[in-house]
């Protein structure tokens, strides 16, 4: 394959592609005719008020929900029909970070590593150092503070060094100090990856994201570059979201 062809392929390759995607729950549209694409290396802040459709969109991308209409491609494959191929290269931190509380941290990470079929056991040790969870590896997850639980969830998402990270409200419920730590971690781990993270905390987007998508009542109301300067995101958000 020539370099030009390789470049052309890289250029057209979307990590995520959503085209006119809707998801209805009964008579309620959780997302309505949304569409966007995400390229390699982008860090997308997915912003919106509570109930705007952020989590639904993320679940659609992961194939955890079937769209009512529209087309979704992740790594150019359908996440519902090629589920295992797609999921093998995605790290996911769900909203509220559900974990198996009865397991020790290392047991949990080993379990995730085995299910992901990873060969390298040093991954867990390296990640524990990177995410500063070495001291709690022997502790049961249910005994951990919320901040540590969040880091364990992040470590699980990062196992196998996936190309795409989907983080649903990674800092929700944390105190400001822990929020800052998690923000720094996301910045650190997001190199060479496509990251899509949802939040309703505006400063988070300002600090981490390279691109901003604002969703309101199931529709995308802004998709573009992050505004420059302090307070730019807040102004844009207030302008875009209906009261």
């Amino acid at each position: 394959m020539t370099n030009a062809l390789k470049n052309a392929k890289t250029f057209t390759f979307n990590m995520i592609l959503l085209k006119s995607v809707s998801k209805w729950f009964g008579s309620q549209a959780a997302v309505d005719e949304i569409g966007f694409e995400a390229k390699k290396g982008e860090i997308i802040g997915f912003l919106g008020p509570n109930g705007a459709g952020k989590t639904t969109t993320m679940r659609l991308i992961l194939g955890l929900l079937r769209p009512t209409s529209g087309k979704i491609l992740v790594f150019n494959e359908d996440p519902l029909h090629k589920r295992l191929n797609v999921l093998a290269n995605i790290g996911y931190l769900p909203e509220n970070n559900p974990l198996y509380g009865e397991m020790k941290v290392w047991e949990y990470l080993q379990f995730i590593s085995d299910v992901k079929n990873l060969k390298n056991p040093t991954d867990i040790t390296d990640l524990a150092v990177q995410l500063d969870i070495e001291e709690v590896l022997e502790k049961k997850i249910e005994e951990l503070s919320r901040g540590f639980k969040q880091r364990v969830g992040l470590a699980a998402a990062l196992l196998g060094d996936p190309d795409l990270l989907i983080l649903d409200e990674p800092t929700s419920g944390l105190d400001p100090i822990e929020q800052d730590k998690i923000k720094d971690l996301i910045k650190k781990i997001s190199k060479n990856k496509t990251v899509i993270f949802s939040t309703h905390i505006l400063s988070e987007v300002e600090d981490i994201a390279s691109r901003l998508i604002i969703i309101d009542r199931g529709s995308i109301v802004y998709d573009g570059k992050k505004p420059k300067g302090r307070g730019g995101v807040e102004k844009l958000f207030k302008k875009s979201v209906k009261k």
Binding site: L62, R83, P98, L99, Y100, D114, V115
Partner: protein, 243 residues
Amino acid sequence: MTYRNMFALYKKELQFYLNNPIGYIVIVLFGVFANFLFVKDIFLYGSASLRPFFDILPWLMMVFVPAVAMRTFSEEKKNNTIEILLSLPISETQIVLAKFFALLTIVAVGLLLTLSLPVSLYFLVTTTGSRIYIPELLIGYLGQIFMAAAFLSLSMFYSSQTKNQIIAFLASVITIFFLIIFSTDFVASFLPFIIQTGLAYLSPITQVGALSKGVVDIRAVYYFLSFIIVFLFLTIIDVERRD
């Protein structure tokens, strides 16, 4: 299909019971009740056979098996950890099978605790110059494993239908209760002959009867395999739902 991820989930499920006092309590209670109910009348039976014991077991399994299986999917759904599992590269079929075999292992351990009975019986009858027919014993236990597996698949199906473990438990116990009494004379006295014959055929008690006598009845094996496959399949369909 790789089996490493399936084995990882099997191991995790098994560890839940091994690291949890409730798991031991349920298994030991089953062992104690099973031993006691047989031993209390051992001298009244007048034969060196475990058939009276195999007649008691379905009633114990009616409670024991749903108690072991009730949390399988209910808890995953309640804590939303099912979202973790479904976002990992493991198929729904592998998830259901891994959980099924882990539970079957637990039930088999419970049955192992009753092996003291044939051993005691062996020593008891040796002193009288009589003997135990080993193949009958082994086939009898095989029949009980089949029946336990059938009850497990049913209980797992109910567990996949609700977030409430108690509802899953009660639904399983009630269904198994009716399946058991379909074969009794009590039901026969109420229903027309044709209906009673049909219902009796559906009862696992009728099917396990030949196996308890030491006869390998292919129809019974076929019945149990079909029962297990149907309910595991229904469980897989539920886990595959993306509504």
